[in-house]
Amino acid sequence: MTTEVSGNPLWDGAGVGDQLEPYEYMITPEMLDEYRRIVDNPKAAYPTVAGRHSLRAWTNRYGPATLMNVGAESEYFNPVVPGKRIRVEATIVGKYIRRGKPFILVDSVATDEDGRMIEKSRLVGMTAKAEKPLFAEVANKWEKN
């Protein structure tokens, strides 16, 4: 379902089916070690959790603090090999209004330079209502409790 959110150019501009610009990056052995330290998991196989592929692809086009991660769905195929380049391709796959809040779904697929599938991920993102900054709505809800 697609519904207009008056005055929000991001919502109005983002079309279901739009492909976001692909990008590439690399996770070095040092980055993997640091990730494992940060999350208290010496065997963590998917430092891509911190890479937020779908959100990064969105941010590359629309800028930071334009979509809030309210949920994530991921499927994992092969662990990251440090030193191999990772290519991310992402697509806007859904827009809907729930309880008056505008949500956008972004799917991404990550493969490494050898063509190994790393993961498929979906970002459940909430964008701001036109009159409020991003995060203001959850801040209001959470800080009251």
């Binding site: 640091e34 999350v39 998991n41 949920g71 991921s74 995060f135 203001a136 801040a139 959470w142």
Partner: protein, 137 residues
């Protein structure tokens, strides 16, 4: 995997204390993000938050730890997870990932475990909710 799994089995992961240093580091380690509500108190205050909050992905990482320690390669090659962030996580909170086995069914000639998953803080409040699947080894 040290525990025999059956429907109704509950799994508890390691508890993780949230620190300011790790919140900031998480925002930089793989994708070096600009200052945001997870890493900068000033940005958090600007949108009405009293302090920084941990990102949902941080909780996802803790859920990964539970899945990896329980299923090993059965998670790494073919794991699936869906989660929503339902309560804020702040510095000094202690977050524990948990799971409940709902179903064990054959898929592609292997046994696949379907679970409800969640995280709790030190007060027992659920901070993340969702589901996960992994293969038995």
């Amino acid at each position: 995997m040290g525990k025999e799994l059956k429907v109704g089995t509950e799994l508890d992961g390691d508890s993780h204390t949230i620190t300011e240093e790790k919140l900031v580091a998480f925002e930089r380690v793989v994708w070096h993000r600009v200052a945001n509500v997870h890493s900068d108190p000033a940005v958090a205050k600007k949108v009405g938050m009293s302090r920084t909050i941990a990102s949902g992905q941080n909780q996802l990482a803790f859920l990964h730890q539970l899945m990896e320690s329980t299923f090993g390669d059965g998670w790494i090659y073919g794991g699936k997870i869906a989660a929503r962030w339902v309560s804020p996580v702040y510095v000094d909170d202690v977050i524990t990932p948990r799971a409940l086995v709902k179903e064990i069914a054959e898929q592609d000639g292997r046994m696949r475990v379907h679970m409800d998953i969640w995280c709790t803080n030190q007060s027992g409040t659920k901070t993340a909710l969702g589901s996960a699947q992994a293969y038995l080894q």
